[in-house]
């Protein structure tokens, strides 16, 4: 089967495509910056705010331990949130765009 020919420049100007990429870019880069900043707080905090990391929260378990553990939950939470948004929004917009192109 020959590959279907698309007018890429026209698709790039399609309002649906622009809406999709604007939404995606804002979400992806925004949350990437958030998660990276949150991660680097760990080595930076451990080095420059050891007093904070020593504060005991539950029994002998201190802030540092909970903060390091929170990194795992923040990463997992972000992954699930992204899956939710992508399934609901990005995939729907993509589907609508592809359907519109195949109809015309």
């Amino acid at each position: 089967m020959a590959e279907r020919q698309y007018d890429w420049a026209a698709i790039a100007k399609n309002p649906k495509f622009i809406e999709l990429t604007h939404k995606k870019t804002a979400f992806l880069f925004g949350w990437w910056i958030f998660s990276t900043a949150y991660y680097f707080l760990l080595p930076i905090g451990a080095a420059y705010a050891p007093g904070l990391f020593k504060i005991k929260i539950i029994g002998v378990i201190n802030f540092g331990y909970i903060f390091a553990l929170s990194q795992f939950f923040v990463s997992w939470g972000l992954a699930l949130y992204y899956a939710h948004v992508a399934n609901k929004d990005f995939d729907r917009l993509t589907r609508e765009l592809v359907e519109e192109l195949h109809l015309s």
Binding site: F17, K24, T36, P43, A46, F53
Partner: protein, 660 residues
């Protein structure tokens, strides 16, 4: 077909011969030798060891009764379990070989892997013996710092998930070269991308091979060379006959074994604490052995603490990772490098859609994250049950902590269970090595066969049969080279090579991948300058970093030990001698003291102070890639951006992995 059968039978007979040969030597005992490649990458295993010689029990702290331990794996049980793993994986290979007919089958398993399967395979591809043994060892000896170290390995997947996985699935086909050559001059770009892939994979592979050899020698007494050849032949067998399908399933099996082992062991650890996390942490803080161990560590920095405050210190940062800048630099290499690793990128071409690629990263994140959280339990559990002193007496880097823990907790139930459990974990380590090296060989072979042979030399004109044949021959060659490097590098210091692989991936590969997917002005000049500058900067900085051996620095350190030991000897009551350990340290220091000369690069001391080059080389890679494009703009590349951007976002016109 006869060729295949011949090679399979050779592979089988060699592995059986290796096993039989291995049964000959004396029972394996673990001596206090470090296993460099197993040490977590970039974890300064050298300091950990030099700490050894320097911790001389001083008068202030009563010397702890160091339990001299040995770790003995029951050879019959362990080798039978190895045989079972080899048997299962080889049947997978025979099954996969029947389905591997086209280049798409060979490189991408025909695009027929599901998201969940791929998630397990990514986890299996990623979690090396360093994660499995090294990080729990670090936690068992240095507490909190080991845990903190493990975090970056998971957070790295956020970059993979948000930035590269789906666009790469949509815009790529089999290799890094496919993504980069889309709107650039394909020949130079493919050749460079292949070189970079081969470089990254070789660094990583060398570390894995040397680690595998030492680990097998330590665990089951297989001689180093036999272990390298055995592992090498298996890895070549998996890749040559089963291609991506076999590699994927070996990785899935390994990830399953690893997770079951870690879960089972964690349950036993938590059972000791009555499944009460608060009680578990109380046990750490109140362990006299841990308190004593921390007191000695702190004493080196001139700080005197003891009792529960020393125990509490084990849960606080700074016992191991003393240079925050190096930590941040490693963190950058992990967060950006994982997403630029060719063998990880390649995994996304095995799933049919971007949605499946997304799902596979999320599944992998849950497996990898759970594994690291369990690793904390194993590391702290080992510190409680075995004592840091006991762990150090077996391996100064702590790499044997998990295995010792398995033996001990099993033996607490019944001695035979201890043997079985240890043998099981040894085979998990074995499967881990096989899965990781196979993925690397496949990635390197794909770069050479698909990018250089098919697309550069043959201009893309090669039929399916020729492509698969080229891929198979390349895999044999890559595997053979891997074995030879492994054999030659036995005595080499390879601990920094994994960190170097991540640094090259982060500084060379990632900038050009991201810019080619997201930046209109990106072009051939950018790929070339980004890849070249990023790669050379990382390698160059490591060559002049503290990772290399500087004889004059070694001699200066040894001089200090000699002075300290002589002072100690002088302080001892007349007639008493230094302990055996101190005497040995002194003898070694006297030899080292005479060392002179320069490092490989002709330097007296490191020019670059950090072990991890990322903090400098990553910005350089990005700047070079951007400057290259701005200096040499290309209209065609800019015009084609619309196509790349639409493709990577929507998956329209996606290269179908199935091309029968």
């Amino acid at each position: 077909m006869t060729f295949k059968k011949l090679i399979i039978s050779i592979t089988l007979s060699v592995s059986i011969a290796a096993a039989a040969f291995a049964a000959e030597p004396t029972k394996a005992t673990v001596t206090p030798a470090s296993t460099p490649a197993v040490a977590a990458p970039a974890a300064p295993s050298a300091p950990a060891m030099s700490v050894q010689g320097a911790i001389a029990p001083t008068a202030a702290v009563a010397p702890a009764p160091v339990k001299q331990r040995q770790l003995k794996a029951n050879k019959v049980v362990t080798l039978s379990m190895f045989a079972v793993i080899i048997g299962i994986t080889l049947s997978v290979v025979i099954w996969a070989a029947k389905q591997t007919k086209t280049a798409a089958d060979f490189y991408a398993a025909g695009g027929g892997i599901t998201g969940t399967q791929n998630g397990w395979a990514i986890a299996g591809d990623y979690m090396s013996a360093a994660s499995f043994l090294g990080i729990s060892g670090l936690i068992s000896l240095y507490g909190y710092d080991g845990f903190m170290y493990s975090v970056g390995w998971l957070v790295a997947y956020i970059t993979v998930l948000l930035i590269v996985a789906e666009p790469c699935r949509n815009a790529g086909k089999y290799t890094l070269g496919d993504i980069l050559s889309f709107r650039t001059n394909p020949k130079p770009v493919r050749a460079l991308a292949a070189l970079s892939t081969v470089a990254v994979s070789t660094f990583y592979l060398t570390a894995q091979m040397v680690g595998a050899g030492k680990l097998m020698a330590l665990l089951v007494g297989v001689p180093y060379k036999t272990a390298i050849i055995g592992v090498g032949i298996l890895m070549v067998g998996y890749v040559v006959f089963g291609g991506m399908t076999a590699t994927t399933w070996v990785q899935i099996i390994k990830a399953g074994l690893l997770m079951s082992g870690a879960t089972l062991l964690s349950v036993l650890v938590m059972a000791k604490a009555g499944f009460n996390p608060i009680h578990f942490f109380d046990m750490i803080v109140n362990s006299p052995d841990i308190q004593d161990h921390v007191s000695k560590l702190m004493l080196k920095d001139g700080i005197n603490i003891s009792g529960t405050s020393a125990g509490q210190r084990f849960l606080e940062p700074g016992l191991f990772l003393k240079n925050p800048l190096d930590q941040i630099s490693l963190g950058m290499a992990l967060v950006l490098g994982t997403a630029g690793m060719p063998h990880i990128l390649m995994r996304f071409f095995t799933v049919p859609t971007a949605q499946a690629a997304r799902k596979s990263v999320i599944v992998a994140m849950f497996i990898i994250g759970t594994f690291y959280v369990l690793t904390t339990l194993l590391g702290f559990g080992a510190a409680i049950s075995l004592t840091p002193q006991g762990i150090i007496s077996v391996d100064p880097g702590g790499n044997m902590a998990t295995l010792m823990l398995a033996e001990q907790l099993g033996a607490d139930i019944a001695p035979i269970i201890g043997d079985l459990f240890l043998a099981f974990l040894c085979s998990v380590a074995f499967a881990t090595i096989l899965a990781v090296v196979s993925g690397l060989v496949l990635a390197a072979s794909a770069a050479i066969a698909h990018d250089i042979y098919v697309n550069v030399i043959k201009d893309g004109h090669a039929d399916q049969h020729e492509q698969v044949m080229a891929a198979r021959i390349t895999s044999v060659v890559v595997g053979a080279v891997g074995i030879i490097i492994g054999l030659l590098a036995e005595k080499a210091n390879v601990a920094h090579l994994v960190a170097l692989a991540f640094a090259v991936a982060a500084s060379g590969n990632l900038p050009v991948v991201v810019l080619s997917l997201f930046w209109r002005k990106f072009n051939t000049a950018g790929v070339v300058s980004g890849l070249v500058v990023g790669t050379i900067a990382s390698i160059g900085l490591v060559m002049v970093s503290p990772n290399m051996t500087y004889p004059k620095v070694v001699a200066a350190g040894a001089k200090k030990v000699v002075v300290a030991m002589e002072k100690k000897q002088a302080e001892l009551p007349a007639g008493e001698m230094l302990s055996e350990k101190d005497t040995k340290a002194l003898a070694k220091a006297r030899i080292d003291e005479l060392k002179d000369g320069t490092s490989m690069m002709g330097l007296d001391k490191p020019l670059f102070k950090l072990k991890n080059p990322g903090i400098v080389s990553i910005p350089l890679g990005f700047i070079a890639a951007i400057l290259g494009c701005l200096l040499f703009p290309n209209k065609r590349s800019e015009d084609m951006f619309d196509e790349v951007y639409v493709r990577q976002n929507t998956g329209l016109g996606m290269a179908k992995a199935v091309e029968h």
